[in-house]
Amino acid sequence: MTHEAGRGLSRRGLLGLVGAGAAGLAVGGTGGAVIANGVAGIGTSGAAASYPFFGEHQSGIVTAAQDRLHFAAFDLAASATADDLRELLADWTFAAARMTRGLEVTEDGAVGGSPLAPPDDTGEALGLPAAGLTITFGFGPSLFDDRFGLAARRPAALEPLPRFSGDALDPARSGGDLCIQACADDPQVAVHAIRNLSRIAFGRAAIRWSQLGFGRTSSTTTSQVTPRNLFGFKDGTANIKAEEPDAVAGHVWASASDGTAWMAGGTYLVARKIRMVIESWDRTRLEEQQRVIGRDKGEGAPLSGGTEFTALELDKPDDDGTPRIAADAHVRLAHPTVNGGARLLRRGYNYVDGDDALGRLDAGLFFLSFQRDPAQFVTVQRSLAGHDALNEYIKHVGSAIFAVPPGAPAEGASIGDPLFG
């Protein structure tokens, strides 16, 4: 099914939106510019408060990590067809392009439509700026089964992740046909995006699981300070940064030469819900916490010496001859040099989902990483899963992998167009 450029949402996405197409084309026109211009400096992602939706790559990957996350995995309806999938992606593209500009999901929006009909937009983001919203879409391995005729289009690299030592995965919190990552500096803006996109999907796809994240745990540009995870340590010091074009090109973006032409300019997303056993960690003495991580807690400097960004000296011994960074320290086992050079672009978030039945905080890290080849993640995680001293304090409870297709190049194109050839 072709989706007419600028027509707006399909009938099934939201029904019959007169004029929505015209508004969709008027980038920076009424409303859009005003909103986008009024927000400089809001939030701490440290960059422009509005990011373009269209482009060679999807936003929300090398984009300066925003403060808040709402991530959702979807399954297609049993009745959904390949045409439904395409139409859904076109509708999502239309709505996402508007919302990332700080606009409502359609021109009629929350209050501009018929009083006799439910509003097109749910309205909780009325009056809020774009807040750096990015919306990033991905395709799970299950999308390439026999339902939509896409089996031959599955990238060879897009396999369900292997089982890792210590995994305690909940199938209901894992996997999914599709995913949407919504990041913003205002949680209400991120939630608004997922809420409206799932509403648009009703009848075609439904949420399988979703996750809120409240604090970024990585920096993706050198202009951001390194944040801390819920263990209280700086996280992501050695992350791939947007300012490293060679690293981004080599480790993040897939290329046609990797074997799947339609993934050129895309990447692979791994999501792992990692529960932290906060209470045990908090009772651990400081020197042990630092030994487990391999960095000092205050500054984030490696135990081999220096300051936060000093390179690790993995072999540097202490006075009695043992390495200052222990053999099972987290930073050692995650380091590229012990993983055949594998690097990841991490973009995770802290989460607290209330408490569990024992009255413990249900908290942890919603780990997100982007990589050119999922094998990069598998290599690092194999290294960690077997030996990481941190394993005593964490448990992987959710897992998913998605192929993140390249960006829609311009208005009128839809996310996933190259997949359908």
Binding site: R11, L15, A78, P118
Partner: protein
């Protein structure tokens, strides 16, 4: 029980279907219909499309009614009421090609008698373009439908409450879900009467929260499926808190209450000046789906009997009748695509429900429906409710 005839005016021909603009020169021969108290013999089961003329002869002992039902056997395409014994009257309406059902209704209440398939073949009748006429026809049809459902509710409730009051619990249990069907199909109408729905259909937790005396279907339900020690109400309180099995005298009281409350509902919708608006009909369809999404999916509606899926199916049927009543208007306003999508989702949801049973044969008890299955049902409800929520704007804007 005293059943009052619908209208005292004799031979009030309701302008149903497309009857309002029927010329006095029917194309075909009149089809004789022989009506007795317990038969309804239509001499032909087919007719060419266009103007169809019936010749109705009531040789029974009391007033009767002839109905043409849509393929769903619920929506009333046309009806001729108040057929006096010994009379022969003509009844003419316009029918498009399709499958219909003919039936009679002795004394104008209860289940249709002599339900028989009736096929109309040929070319579609030119669609009416007069908007007001389409609206009038929709309202007339829906009012007739409400009356027919309440007319079936009365005897069903009578049989149900009689068994309950007599302590014949097996019989009462077997009638609980099927009796509620007639109510669940038109629940938004009852809710419009304010205090009636609380008396007829409130759950214990609702009555308690609003400080009302708890009566009606669900009061009786808890007597019929009494909780064991340790069981909880849907709000998490002990099922035995402020509750004890009804004594025979209390049972007689609750039975009489429900009987008189549904009689009142019947009287209200049977009043000559009772009517509904177009928005009532389309919002009723939306409201019925909300009933499903809120009460039935969670299993809170029929907490003790677990017959939620029967209510679920009846709500969906009621919504589909309301939708079917206004589709011609939506189509005339250029909303064919919306109509198609809603119909597609109705079909999908009904196919899903059919996996668990049917209104006629009963459904899987809801406590045996797994969370994954409930999720799937919920997705189906959402898939339908989203386009359906635009129906009112589609017919009124």
């Amino acid at each position: 029980m005293i059943i009052r005839p619908l209208a005292t005016a004799t031979a009030a021909l309701l302008a149903l279907g497309l009857a309002g603009c029927v010329p006095n020169s029917p194309a075909g021969e009149a089809i004789p219909v022989a009506i007795t108290d317990d038969t309804c013999a239509v001499s032909s089961d087919t007719a060419p499309s266009g103007t169809v003329k019936f010749e109705l002869t009531n040789s029974g002992t009391d007033v009767n009614e002839f109905e043409i039902l849509a393929e769903d056997r619920l929506r009333i395409v046309g009806e001729k009421e108040n057929l006096i014994p010994g009379q022969t009257v003509a009844y003419t309406l316009q029918l498009n090609p399709g499958t219909y059902y003919t039936a009679c209704k002795f004394q104008l209440v209860g289940a249709p008698i002599g339900l028989a398939e009736f096929t109309v073949t040929g070319e579609p009748v030119a669609a009416d373009t007069d908007e007001q006429q389409l609206v009038d026809e929709a309202v007339t049809s829906y009012v007739a439908y409400i009356r027919s459902q309440t007319g079936e509710l009365l005897p069903a409730v009578a049989a149900f409450t009689e068994a309950y009051a007599a302590g014949e619990d097996d019989t009462a249990r077997s009638l609980f879900a099927s009796t509620r069907v007639f109510y669940e199909r038109i629940e938004p109408t009852a809710e419009a009467f304010g205090d009636l729905d609380p008396k007829i259909d409130y759950r214990e937790v609702d009555a308690l929260a609003e400080g009302l005396a708890w009566t009606g279907f669900h009061r009786i339900e808890k007597d019929l499926w009494p909780p064991a020690a340790g069981e909880l109400n849907s709000d998490g309180t002990s099922a035995l808190l402020d509750w004890a099995p009804s004594t025979p005298a209390q049972r007689a009281g609750f039975a009489a209450d429900l009987t008189s409350d549904v009689q009142e509902l019947y009287d209200l919708v049977s009043a000559e000046d009772f009517t509904v608006t177009l928005a009532d009909i389309s919002n009723g369809a939306i409201g019925l789906l909300d009933e499903v999404a809120v009460g039935k999916i969670s299993g809170e509606e029929d907490w003790w009997s677990h017959t939620d899926l029967t209510d679920f199916a009846a709500n969906v049927q009621g919504a589909e009748v309301a939708f079917g009543t206004v589709t011609a208007i939506a189509v005339s306003k250029g909303e064919q695509e919306l109509v198609d999508e809603i119909q597609r989702q109705f079909d999908a949801l009904e196919a899903l429900l059919a996996r668990y049973g049917s209104i006629e044969d009963g459904f899987t008890p809801y406590d045996q429906v797994t969370d994954a299955q409930r999720n799937e049902l919920s997705d189906g409800v959402n898939a339908l409710a989203e386009p359906l929520s635009r129906l009112t704007a589609a017919v009124l804007d």
